[in-house]
Amino acid sequence: MTNEEMNVIIGLEVHCQLNTSSKLFCACSADFRGDAPNTHTCPVCLGLPGTLPVLNKRAIEYALKVAKAFNCVVLEKSEFCRKNYFYPDLVKAYQITMGDNPLAVGGYVEIEDDAGNPKIINLTRIHVEEDPGRLVHMGNREYGHYTLVDYNRSGIPLIEMVTEPELSSPKEARRFLNKLRAMLEYLDVFDPEKEGAIRVDANISIKGHERVEIKNISSYKGVEKALIFEITRQKNLINRGGTIVRETRHFQEGKGTTISARSKETATDYRYFPEPDLPIICVADWIKDIISPELPDARRDRFMQQYGITANHAKTLTGDLKLAEFYETIADVGAAITASWTADILIGELNYRDMSLGIVAPHASEFKDLVTLIRDKKITDKAGIEVLRVWLDNLRTGTKMEKPTKIVERLNLARESGEHLRGIVEQILASNPQAIIDHKTRKKGALNFIVGQVVKETRGKFDPREIHAMIAEFVGK
């Protein structure tokens, strides 16, 4: 069987931290990142004997917002359960989660398949559960290994969303996660900027073979990598006549590989039973009072209609809430030029620098000034990119707070035109006689070389079209 004939089947379990103020079952602050270990704990989230959980209402409200946005059916009766297993990060030796009666079942979301056609991915369920603490592995072979534990994360609310096994490729899985991430961000229940705020378990199989679970992929970028590795591993094994065994594997982020978890862990029997310390919840009728915000698809359609921008620009700009908001605050400069400078150029330059929009967003008005300069032909596109790069580098390093207008001034990039150009063109032509000969013998692109030389000499301050016209004056069309 060739690789192409092997159908890949992927299902995801996605855990997202809800951005409530306090933890799921106690009043400790959920905003713990950057703080010293074990400074956001109390008897409840340390699991001290005798303590009891009390459910954070907002966590349920947030989960219901998600359920509504994904078209799920909220159950009449939902019930928390105990999932029993023993690990030092799990203070009570059970995780309070949901079992047979989750918050919501069903639901779906539309993504694009690898051919760009719309595809529905169905959800199995959505439930609410608590996050365990965080382990740090210490020691060495000589003096022995041990573990250090920080319980600041213990009890942070999570929603777990489970898909049907309907994803057919790692790229599709990534698109699903991007969509999910964007929707949760639009719903204002989740902060994607927080490290480890989204974690994924993936079930993956080749049609006709056993499935393998990859646990705890802690970045959504890691998911595609883990899946690609695992598919290759499984296909190679099948091609060599091997058998896929049903097992749990761990993704090693650094190496980009998966390794088999010990059989002891996979043999775990979680012994679920209803949590006797928490009454059941009946919130199905709350759903009608939840007002969903405009979601990515709706905003994309509105952008196309309201701003008349291309479908691709609209999709990119609405794929991230902060980007969409950023665009809307500056779109009055000109919808099309702003869309292009945001979706095509700014995003590219940010990705190149591994910067997030979050750093730029507070300075939207400066970016707006830059686009305005370009729109008004005060600087050329080329100069615009140069200014953008300087501006972003400054923001990234935080060394200099220089507005684009100042950068234009300092680097003397204001667009020029007219007689000054004539002299430069004359000079460049004089020192490149061969180019003129080439041009006259109809050698294609000969003048482009001259244009490039002039742009370089003028540091992009002249419009390339004007340069073309000027050269044509000298050498003919």
Binding site: N38, T39, K57, P88, G144, H145, Y146, T147, V149, P279
Partner: protein, 89 residues
């Protein structure tokens, strides 16, 4: 009937050590107790469960946590604010 092997399997699942000297007695007691529980085998109900309480919540308000010192007070040899545990890898 559960066998001594079953009891050992459960002990492993429960992560409870059982001394071999206790195994026979534990198994015997286990069988006596489980035998008694068989009375429930013939039980049927309509499954109509009453639940006196529903929807008990707290508001999403932040309270005062334990100080790090208090959080660590009952643990052994904490290190830089972390709690120490046996190795997991």
């Amino acid at each position: 009937m559960v066998s001594e092997n079953d009891v050992l399997h459960i002990a492993k699942l429960a992560d409870i050590g059982i001394a071999m000297s206790e195994l026979g007695e534990f198994t015997e007691q286990f069988n006596a107790i489980l035998g008694y529980f068989n009375i429930l085998d013939n039980l049927t109900t309509d499954g109509d469960f009453d639940c006196p309480l529903v929807n008990v919540f707290r508001e999403d308000k932040v309270g005062i946590p334990l100080s790090q010192k208090k959080a660590l007070a009952n643990s052994h040899n904490p290190e830089n604010g972390y709690i120490r545990a046996p190795r997991v890898i």
